[in-house]
């Protein structure tokens, strides 16, 4: 399982990586939506993208819209992980093609539970 973590905060990318790497996820990181698209256009097809909303260069909503324009990426699961908790924005992101929405701050279980709901089962990985 491979996750593309897209957040302009290195600290937040590290937090997400520490949550999912121990349960079997490989991770790639990007600091904004454009950098994430660059990874994907170079051949990375992640199982899940974890996407912040507010980022420079290309924000998370624009990234979701761009990914959903491309049929070859239709199987990529998109999970917003953001401080944006306004109802209208949650609806907007889901309408654009995001599958799940997690609001920061979140406990680790919230991420793992959402991944399980999306059909990704955690695997214990030896240190």
């Amino acid at each position: 399982m491979h996750a593309l973590i897209i957040d302009d905060s290195r600290a937040m990318r590290a937090i997400l990586r520490r949550i999912i790497a121990p349960v079997g996820w490989q991770t790639t990181e990007a600091a904004h939506g454009r950098e994430a698209l660059d990874h994907m256009e170079a051949g990375l097809v992640p199982d899940v993208c974890m996407i912040d909303w507010n980022m420079p260069v290309m924000d998370g909503y624009q990234f979701v819209c761009e990914v959903r324009k491309r049929p070859e990426w239709r199987d990529v699961t998109l999970m917003m992980v953001t401080t944006e908790g306004e109802h209208s924005q949650i609806v907007r992101a889901l309408a654009a093609g995001a599958h799940e929405y997690v609001i920061k701050p979140f406990p680790p279980e919230a991420i793992l539970d959402k991944l399980a709901l999306l059909g990704f089962q955690s695997q214990e990985v030896s240190a």
């Binding site: 302009d8 905060s9 290195r10 600290a11 507010n54 401080t83 944006e84 209208s88 920061k104 701050p105």
Partner: protein
């Protein structure tokens, strides 16, 4: 509670800060404290985000240098003897304001937009049209930590300029 931010209570801010600490710092969170004077000679870090739209304001977090370093180590899982780089401090302190500000935005009337965080190594000055409406004074590891909510006088005004870094 204030007249300018009636949707937002001090308890809301306290809860948000406690959630951030319990989730990312894995430490007893900051505790309420009497307002502490901010000594201009003492290094501190400040970060702020602006909310513009139906609600117009700024959310700022000020914390002492030692607290900023401890927060950064916790968020980046660094060892206690590891010295964070300046860009790591900017990143962690900025994300703190982003998380608190983003959740404040969800509690006030929308729709509105949230700016990217601005971080300074000294207290951030607010745009002149904003006035403090809610200040949460806390202490963490023996140092002061302050969360400020500043709002404009009425809703629907033109978007504010981003907060400006105050020169030492």
């Amino acid at each position: 509670m204030t007249a300018l931010a009636p949707e937002l209570a001090q308890q809301d801010l306290e809860t948000l800060v406690a959630q951030v600490w319990s989730t990312y710092v894995l430490d007893e969170g900051p505790l309420p404290a009497p307002p502490a004077p901010w000594n201009d000679a003492s290094p501190c870090w400040s970060s702020a985000v602006s909310v513009t739209g139906a609600w117009h304001g700024m959310i700022a977090v000020d914390l002492a240098e030692s607290a900023a370093v401890a927060l950064t180590r916790a968020m980046l899982a660094m060892d206690d003897d590891e010295e964070p780089a300046s860009e790591d401090l900017v990143d962690a302190v900025g994300e703190l304001a982003n998380m608190i500000g983003g959740n404040v935005k969800a509690l006030v009337p929308g729709p509105s937009g949230l700016s990217l965080p601005v971080v300074g190594h000294s207290p951030l000055a607010a745009p002149s049209e904003l006035a403090p409406t809610l200040t949460l004074d806390l202490t963490w590891r023996g140092t002061p930590l302050r969360v400020r909510v500043l709002t404009a006088g009425s809703r629907g005004e033109s978007p504010t300029a981003p907060p400006q870094e105050m020169l030492p």
